[in-house]
Structure formats: structure tokens, C-alpha cells
Assembly symmetry: C2
Homo-oligomer: 80 residues x 2
């Protein structure tokens, strides 16, 4: 079973990397960009075939390692 | 209009960061993890309200800045 975890900064948390990308896009001529936020994706392959136990395990991974839940949110999708 | 761009390494491209995360997960006791690949997410806010022109603009941004299309794939979702 394959899961995709998307980790994004909580709203209100400053994102200097996103701001730098926004600046670069604007200077490349993309003028309609009003904000960019950067995050991370993890595609995790699990040996279990049970979706609910996969979700539980992925949640535990996010809490322990993949996300810093003080400043980041995460979302889990089962993709295969 | 808000778009989410997900940039992932093409299959076959080595991902040492993903392997390090896999190792960390295993040493934390998550034994069912068989592979981890890491990627990037960009949430881009655009001033246009037209979905097809937004997609065109985002594609151009990916080709020029957000993704290295030699080794990375990207996927675009309109999220709002």
C-alpha cells in the first residue's frame, strides 16, 4: 500500500523560502503570482494491505518524524 | 485561484534523502516501511480566475523554475 503525505506550514507561520520563490517567479515575468508557500511530500510504501492500519501507522510517522506539528500540518492520501 | 504543484523525483532517480527517512522510520520501530521518496509541494496563488490560463501559467513556472524536468516530474492540481 502506498501513501502520500503532504506537509505544509500552518497558516500564519512565516515562509521565507516561499517568499523567495514568489520573488523569483515575479522577476521571471510571472506577474499574476500573489503568494507561494512551500511544503514537502513523502511517498511511503507500506507492507500492510489494510487501509485503516496504514493510516494509523502513517499518522504515527507524521507525529514522530515527518512533520513538526508545532508549525506544520499534514495530510495523508492513500494512493495505491 | 490557488494551485498546488507536486514535484517528485522520476522513478529510477536515486533519492538519498528518502532512503535516510526510511532508515529513520525503521529505527523508530516502523517495520512495515519498504520505500520512501521525498518531493516538494508549492501552493501558488494566482490572480487569474480562469482555470485553463492558470494551468498554462503554472506549467510554464514548473518548466522554468519549480521543477528540474531532467530528473523530476510535476503534477498540478487546482485547489481553489
Amino acid at each position: 500500500m502506498k501513501a502520500r503525505v503532504i506537509v505544509t506550514l500552518k497558516s500564519g507561520v512565516l515562509d521565507p523560502q516561499g517568499q523567495a520563490i514568489e520573488g523569483s517567479l515575479t522577476s521571471l515575468g510571472f506577474e499574476g503570482v500573489s503568494a507561494v508557500r512551500q511544503g514537502k511530500v513523502f511517498d511511503v510504501e507500506l507492507s500492510t494491505d489494510d487501509e485503516s492500519s496504514a493510516r494509523e501507522e502513517i499518522d504515527a510517522m507524521c507525529e514522530k518524524l515527518l512533520a513538526n506539528t508545532v508549525v506544520e500540518d499534514y495530510a495523508v492520501e492513500i494512493i495505491g
